[in-house]
Symmetry: none
Subunit: 242 residues, 2 copies
């Protein structure tokens, strides 16, 4: 493996170790239950101290990606594997599964100044314009989702791309950006005037609101996404095990 850790890098050693472990987690052998090298060995190989390595492992354990057991060692947690692939269906795929055919309409692209939350998430200055994409989706006469996405400048989108193809596929193929982590917050809201108009529903009707933060493998922010789903037309499913 070489010592994949750069002691001169400004990136903290524990963070580098963490990244490295994430890569290992993705390797098939570990995915299949192979135990990791023990902490003392691994620390030696990486030329960092055990404490530092544990800092990295701890984070992944807390995230539920790794499981530690005394004497037996550290392994990739079982449950995570299944929930992964499930969760990464893009929206159109999710819906196809449910037997609903989706049309995309009113896709708009523009350059805007980020508000505070977005600038903060992207870690950019608020005077830097970013790409905003709006989408309305559903059956032709019956929109049931309204999306807004903002993309980090790093991604290199020009606004000329074909936003009709699956988004993450496009990012991966044409911009070499691989989304690997997403954090989502789901809540219920009453539709305000704007949303009610978009979704053609009454003011204050319930909508399912999803805020999504998407990161690449280095946990760098890529996309900030808001989704407003007409109630009853969308069910969010989560599967978890322990």
């Amino acid at each position: 493996m070489r010592h994949a850790i750069d002691h001169k890098s400004p990136i903290p050693l524990h963070a580098q170790a963490e990244q490295l472990l994430r890569k290992m987690i993705n390797e098939e052998e570990y995915q299949n239950g192979k135990v990791f090298p023990n902490e003392i060995e691994l620390a030696k190989v990486l030329a960092i101290s055990r404490s530092t390595l544990r800092q990295a492992i701890n984070k992944l354990v807390f995230e539920g990606l790794l499981v530690r057991k005394k004497r037996s060692g550290t392994k990739v947690a079982k449950s995570v594997v299944s929930s992964k692939s499930n969760n990464w269906l893009s929206f159109s795929q999710e819906m196809k599964l449910r037997g609903i055919t989706i049309k995309n309409f009113e896709t708009q692209v523009s350059w805007v100044l980020p508000d505070d939350e977005i600038a903060d998430f992207f870690e950019i200055k608020p005077d830097r314009k970013i790409l905003k994409m709006e989408k309305l989706r559903g059956k032709p006469d019956e929109p049931f989702v309204y999306f807004v996405s903002y993309f980090h400048p790093r991604v290199g989108l020009t606004g000329e791309e074909d936003f009709k193809m699956p988004l993450y596929e496009m990012l991966e193929n044409e911009h070499s950006v691989i989304a690997t982590l997403s954090k989502e917050e789901i809540s219920a809201k009453a539709a305000d005037n704007f949303i009610a108009g978009k979704l053609k529903i009454a003011l204050d009707s319930p909508v399912l609101f999803r805020k999504r933060f998407v990161y690449d493998h280095g946990e760098r922010p890529i996309e900030y996404n808001l989704g407003y789903y007409k109630a009853d037309s969308f069910v969010y499913t989560v599967e978890s095990s322990r």
Copy 2:
């Protein structure tokens, strides 16, 4: 405060410190943004090392309960009610973590005939009575969740149990039933008359609706649970990676 930490206890010092911090988090002053004593001071007061204390703090930071900032110190994070998909904490525990004190009121237990969906899920005949539990939770004057749970007869609940203690703990300890898998469906709904009354909100107000199917290790159904969350008081968070 005295040194609230017992060096002779079998409970690890960092765990004791963690408990203590959780208590502090519940205190109003910290809730309101007061900064914690700095690590070095606090470690001295508790008579543990800074490293050990940091272990405890780290955990709470990972959980999103605390926020650390250089020079400014450590504070309670602005409370967002959330539940990690991995986390098997019951709702009351989730809330306690967040420093919100929860009262349980109107806990009712009854024996009822299952409707079709439930009978189907439990794989039992619809003429067999099952245990139904209803709970209303929230702050004293402000209910924000209404729960209904149905339990499979196999679990062996009599209805006489103490439903005030954490549910899954109780099932595990007293009925040797270990919940290992859950499937959840989350959607937005308009409050009907019944729910509006329970949650003390207007008819048709948005609520977050969660349907939860819980299974044991053999994937046998254990619990069927419905939750109605007042909008704005509950955000469901999901983290997924690939």
